[in-house]
């Protein structure tokens, strides 16, 4: 229940909304328990219900979280022939001095689809296959979106570090 609440909180950024979302998720799960496939990951099933609830309710009524420009994230696997230059490098020394609050704030500033995929992969440690099922996208898109999300998060942390006077060693 803690993991679900944590996910709900990062999606809604509001304790009351997160409470409602988790409550609604468990009640839906209970009501539709017959749709749960025995032997599959129950935690992933609950996360999917929660994610759907978030999309259906909160995106409509609140401030419409920013969406990912999917054209921009066209599969990087088709263009991954550039060697090391392709992805952003954030040196150990640059981010080791950062506090949890700063990292959490940077994550929460990401467009919701990017934030979601980082939460599912790096915080909850779901497999790509499970993530694909939770958010209804192909596994290839999980990979490309994750790659893009991490780069944007690094960029935000780099900006923050530079603003705060961390020295970048590149």
């Amino acid at each position: 229940m803690d993991a679900l609440y944590n996910f709900a909180f990062h999606l809604t950024l509001d304790e009351d909304d997160a409470n409602d979302l988790v409550q609604e998720t468990f009640l839906k799960a209970y009501r539709f328990i017959d749709s749960y496939q025995q032997g599959t990951n129950a935690k992933a099933w609950l996360f999917k219900i929660l994610k759907n609830g978030f999309i259906n309710e909160y995106r409509k009524k609140t401030k419409q979280p920013s969406k990912v420009d999917y054209d921009e994230v066209a599969s990087f696997h088709d263009t991954d022939d550039e060697g090391h230059v392709e992805y952003l490098d954030l040196r150990h020394e640059l981010f080791q001095g950062m506090l949890g609050d700063e990292v959490t704030r940077a994550l929460n500033q990401l467009p919701v689809d990017f934030k979601t995929i980082i939460l599912l992969c790096d915080i909850e440690e779901f497999s790509y296959e499970e993530i694909a099922k939770i958010i209804d996208i192909p596994i290839g898109t999980v990979r490309s979106r994750l790659h893009r999300a991490r780069n944007i998060l690094k960029e935000k942390l780099r900006e923050y570090a530079q603003k705060e006077g961390f020295k970048e060693k590149r």
């Binding site: 991954d80 490098d89 990292v103 990979r143």
Partner: protein, 84 residues
Amino acid sequence: MDQQLPKHDCRNFVKKVFLVLDGELPETERNLFIMDIQRCKGCLEHFHIEKTFKDFIAAKVERKDCSEKLKQTIISQVQSNPET
């Protein structure tokens, strides 16, 4: 050992680094990847940077726990409303 490995190609590193870090490759393939990157200082360095970043995010992002009150509310709702 190097004789068993194909010529090192940094593009292969870019393709696979996150699959390795996210636990998406079978152990044999993962081990080959790790052996392969030992031969390239740049790839090895980038691998450690990416691993540190992933571990850093997991460790630093604030976790919010569900309150006892909410847990009890959900339990009592389910118990009192079996047909919900």
